[in-house]
Amino acid sequence: MNEAKPIKAESTRSIVPRLTWLDGLFWVTAIAIFVDLYLIFLWVPKEAIQGNVQRIFYFHLPAAWIAYLAFFLVFLFGIFHLKTRNPKWDHYAYSAAELGVVFTSVTIVTGIIWAKPIFGVWWVWDARLTTTALLWLVYVGYLMVGAYAVSGDKASRLRSAVGILGFAVVPINYLSVSLWDTVHIEPIVIGGDDTFLSADMRLTLYFSLATFTALFVFLLVVRIMLRESEAAVEELDQERETALS
């Protein structure tokens, strides 16, 4: 058996990684979040009928928007992955799916907290809520499906297929309030009527949407970098095992 060469990493660069555009995005997002909290809790007027509990809307809707965006990216990256077989797209899709599940969970939890004082119940199995639960389950399934495949390549292809097919639930979920009777309100931003929101409320909502989007982009890029690092470490381990044998 050949003796493996000792591996020593010698960095010729500075130890602390240099600042990148992501640092800039982080600080912009961090400041925007506190401005957003100020707008939501102190600046925007109290809603006349629902009272203060309506302020949860400025978290609920942006979280739902990010979940849709994340699942659209899973769909898109899934197609790229199946077309090119480049593992990079699978890393992107998996990272987006994880964040999509987190933001769907935030949407469900904020919805539940909002529903109790307004509708008198925490949860009802109506069209919107049921399809949201289904959406959450589909993408939890997406994250789990890879674990049951024999090889890493097969796992990533299975995942991509689930991500592409699973996206069908997103438009059904969005349109569910128009197609069926539901306790949930009709769409108010995209393809809906947002005139019942005052100018202050609209500004707060759009600021919150922008802040959540910036946070999502930051978290997505970091998660992708982490996933790529995991893959690189695995590759290095395999190389090392090959060298030792």
């Binding site: 909290l37 509990v53 930051f218 790529e228 690092s229």
Partner: protein, 51 residues
């Protein structure tokens, strides 16, 4: 809710600050790990510019 409004805002602010702190720490850690991996790859397969 009216009575606890200040506490709610304070709670959210502290929660967000902690979350963002953790996010930034993770980000810098990931950058460092990426650099370590890059260094390790260069040590195994030196590039012409490494001398």
């Amino acid at each position: 809710m009216e009575d606890n409004f200040g506490y709610l805002l304070a709670g959210f602010s502290i929660g967000w600050a902690l979350f963002m702190g953790l996010a930034y720490w993770t980000y810098r850690k990931v950058m460092r790990v990426r650099q370590d991996i890059d260094d390790l790859k260069r040590a195994r397969n030196p590039r012409p510019e490494d001398g």
